[in-house]
Symmetry: C2
Subunit: 327 residues, 2 copies
């Protein structure tokens, strides 16, 4: 019942275990004929090298973790799922095993996980990072920058995303643009906010304090906020929402007021999540290539693991506005 070991293969093929081992991990170092003998024996026995034993001997586990650090976020968040998907793809093709978890769950368990690297997505707590560094685990940050640490991080071009969105609205003739943001706690959202201020200035648009709105991060709060905004006597004709869920809220509110989109109200979202194409009108949104971000994370981790020292610290992935019918 127990699995065949390298000894069984060694015996059956008549070569030493060293050769069997080499036949599997460095085939070019063993002669063609012997190699074939080994493979035959192996498949006859249905042998597969044990990853555990290998890890033990090599002192490497080929295991890395993807942790969602944003509070309350899970793999159900499309954005993080997208990054995860990218990481997963790359991890699989590089033959790394990927452990997926949230930072909270992860920290609840004392047991050492023997990972070689960790990709932290979202606002990673400094003490988590420090802990990993102490354990000599390589760390890469996704969608976050942690000032205190000198780590590779992969972020989207917030500034350009906001600029593209606003430029588009301007091109449609809008000059009065309201902004709706979820109450933000994360590095990235405040980054986006700064980008908004900067872009408004750059485009020469006046920034009316009253048209900067904050709400909770669910659609219903967005509806409320949007409603208040749209009820004003001098309501804005364009709204830039910090994410698609909020944008959907704005659209809902507009619909309920009987406004025609995009004529009477233009709406732009952010993230280009799957909901954009399900709304009517379809939502114009800033597309962020989160899969790509995930892939880059994995690339940085492997570079670190290979001992490379000149790993880029800050990689900004380009974004692009997907123009649809909401603006």
């Amino acid at each position: 019942m127990s699995n065949p070991t390298i000894y069984d293969v060694s015996r059956l093929s008549g070569v030493s275990t060293a050769t069997v081992s080499r036949a599997f991990s460095e085939p070019e170092r063993v002669r063609e004929t012997t190699r074939r003998r080994v493979y035959e024996a192996a498949s006859a026995l249905n042998y597969q090298p044990s990853a555990i034993a290998r890890a033990m001997a090599r002192q490497r586990t080929d295991k890395i973790a993807f942790l969602i650090c944003k509070k309350g976020a899970t793999i159900l968040d499309e954005f993080y799922a997208g990054i995860c998907e990218g990481v997963m793809r790359r991890a699989n093709s590089l033959d790394y095993q990927l452990i997926v978890s949230t930072a909270e769950d992860w920290q609840r368990i004392p047991q050492s996980k023997q990972i070689e690297g960790a990709i932290l997505a979202g606002d990673a707590q400094p003490d988590l990072i420090a802990e990993f560094q102490r354990q000599n685990v390589k760390v890469v940050l996704a969608n976050h920058v942690s000032p205190g640490f000198d780590l590779p991080c992969i972020i989207a071009d917030e500034y350009d995303g906001v600029r593209q969105a606003l430029s588009h609205l301007v091109a449609q003739g809008h000059r009065q643009i309201a902004m709706l943001a979820g109450r933000f706690s994360s590095y990235i959202t405040s980054e986006r906010y700064n980008a908004f201020l900067a872009a408004m200035k750059e485009l020469g648009l006046s920034l009316d304090e009253s048209s900067i709105l904050m709400c909770e991060r669910d659609a219903e709060s967005a509806v409320q906020a949007a409603r208040a905004l749209l009820d004003r006597p001098n309501r804005p004709r364009a709204v830039f929402a910090f994410n698609d869920v909020l944008a959907a809220g704005v659209i809902k509110a507009a619909r309920r007021l009987g406004l025609r989109l995009p004529d009477e109200l233009a709406v732009v979202g952010y993230d280009d999540s799957s909901v954009c194409q399900l709304l009517e009108p379809e939502l114009t949104s800033v597309h962020v290539d989160c899969r790509r971000m995930g892939e880059l994370c994995m690339d940085r981790i492997t570079a670190l693991l290979h001992g490379e020292t000149d790993v880029p610290r800050r990689t900004v992935v380009p974004v692009s506005l997907r123009v649809r019918s909401s603006a």
Copy 2:
């Protein structure tokens, strides 16, 4: 630089490695005072037992895999992400490590992964299952039933879901109900289809061949299909869509035709995905507790791993209609 081992702790605390080992894995078997000495030494050295070495010695890895088997599906599919989330939660709290991947990616890599169990979500290929069984890996199926195998599987109550949806429409006075399904290839969707036929019959509704529609699985196809349906002289007043994306397509089509919902057209979706609350009107949909499904999968796996023999083979999780404003 290298991590401290059990020997270091043994030396520092003045007890044997066996005792150190026990102090960590069966604390009750070592005297209070010694235990404390061991812990002190361990924390002084910043020692953490190596999961690898432990796995090696114990012949257990505490590692299980969650594989998305549905073709083309990824962790970005909200439904699978939900199951994954449930599995993850439970896995973490039970101190199992979870490897997440798609079945395709998984099979591309020959290397043995040393997992003890696998949770296969969606239509798992028989040969994949057989392969796992051959390797003595415990298997549980999520959202799928594979007739050829005697495996625990966790599925949602398709029949009841459809029945609830249709009953609700009937309660609203509808008698002519059209159905829109994505071209289905999976076990579950055909199950849902059968449930639809059965429920229609049970409710005494006439089933007009022409009001059973199929389309591709994206929103745009649904729009096309719905448009054709709604253009008919004698158009139906209610549509039951097989999932929320299709339902969103129907709503889009209806909006474009200027129909008022739910008065002129009632729409019910399936899955209760996050989009339901973002649409206007909000989409009435059949809620499936996929997190729960994931948790149950994990429970079944652990039962199997503990050698229990009377593990339930077929667990049906209840569903419930979330009534909103689209119907």
